[in-house]
């Protein structure tokens, strides 16, 4: 799981061009969007595409479930891990 967490953090940084941010700066449980890291709706789309590509998982656009999955690094990792099984 720790490997996955690092991988997801690095994917977020690379995909969204977060130049000045290190993986350690991204909190595991904090919100990624709006209040937390400050990502916006375009980032959500971009991240969805990147995660689909990197982990070969299926994401339903706009469903309430995807909103929960994309809340934090923690929820994203749990979602990816569950989808792989």
């Amino acid at each position: 799981m720790n490997d996955l967490i690092d991988e997801v953090k690095q994917l977020i940084i690379d995909t969204l061009d977060l130049e000045d941010i290190e993986p350690a700066d991204i909190d595991y449980e904090d919100a990624l969007f709006v209040d937390g890291l400050g990502l916006d709706s375009i980032d959500a789309l971009e991240l969805g595409v990147a995660i689909k590509k990197a982990f070969d998982v299926k994401i339903d656009n706009n469903s309430d479930d995807s909103k929960k999955h994309f809340y934090s690094v923690k929820t994203l990792c749990e979602f990816i891990a569950a989808s792989r099984n």
Binding site: L18, E19, G38
Partner: protein, 247 residues
């Protein structure tokens, strides 16, 4: 139509200040193929991260030329090829059947930079995007003058931007291109100011090839010189730009 140029800000070919461009017009400085991009410190990092080199050049010039009227000025954004580096990457992805990047897709349309300017400044004034081949620069000025005249605007911002086309397209471009942006703030001429006049005629000479020099460089060379007029011939048009002092 008569007009005056309240502000001129250009960044390209390694030349970044009015002094650089004066030296260029005097023949004391030449253009370079490589250059640093404007830092754009005024734009927050979270917004700045999405700006391509093309967008950085355009926004630097636009924000500095329209410093006093950022939230209200109508504008004309002009580019011959647009942000083609971005567009051609998307086309390659389509060909390779890759999933397209939503961010890149959203920012690849011809008026994307105008949109970024509008979002960043909160400016809701009318905005047009112009592309007119080798005549793009002067055509943008014509469009701005029409806006000044027809709508009785006090000022109109013109932002021209071009970056060197990706290698795959280079055989199709006759002009010697450099990465450059130039923003002009145009106003109706008042007393005691320099009056510019731009006129055009059809070129009936059947000129076979495009000019090797970009029009924006013809303009900057003239603007920063002491000359009173410049003639620029393209395949389709004969342009003449003159200036006199309004007495």
């Amino acid at each position: 139509m008569e007009f005056t140029i309240k502000q001129c800000v250009a960044w390209g070919g390694g030349l970044t200040s009015a002094q650089d461009w004066q030296d260029y017009a005097q023949g004391e400085k030449v253009l370079s193929d490589t250059q640093e991009l404007p830092a754009l410190k005024q734009i927050p990092a979270m917004q700045r991260r999405r700006l391509s080199p093309f967008a950085k050049l355009a926004l630097h010039c636009a924000l500095n030329a329209a410093d006093d009227c950022l939230t209200t000025v109508p504008s004309v954004f002009a580019s011959r090829h647009g942000d083609l580096a971005k567009t051609s990457k998307l086309i390659s992805d389509v060909a390779a059947e890759e999933v397209l990047s939503p961010t890149q897709f959203g920012l690849s349309v011809h008026n994307a930079v105008g949109g970024l300017f509008s979002i960043y400044t909160g400016n809701k004034a009318p905005l047009t995007a112009v592309s007119a081949g080798e005549d793009t620069f002067f055509t943008a000025i014509i469009d701005a003058l029409c806006k000044l005249s027809a709508n009785e605007y006090q000022q109109v911002l013109v932002v021209f931007t071009e970056t060197v086309v990706p290698e795959i397209y280079q055989d199709y471009v006759a002009q010697e291109e450099v990465d450059i942006a130039c923003a002009l703030l145009l106003e109706p001429a008042g007393q005691g100011e320099e009056i510019y006049k731009l006129s055009l005629q059809a070129n009936t000479e059947n000129q076979q090839s495009e000019n090797s020099q970009m029009q924006v460089l013809d303009f900057l060379n003239f603007y920063y010189s002491n000359n009173e007029q410049v003639n620029v011939n393209s395949k389709r048009h004969l342009w003449q730009l003159t200036r006199t002092i309004n007495k």
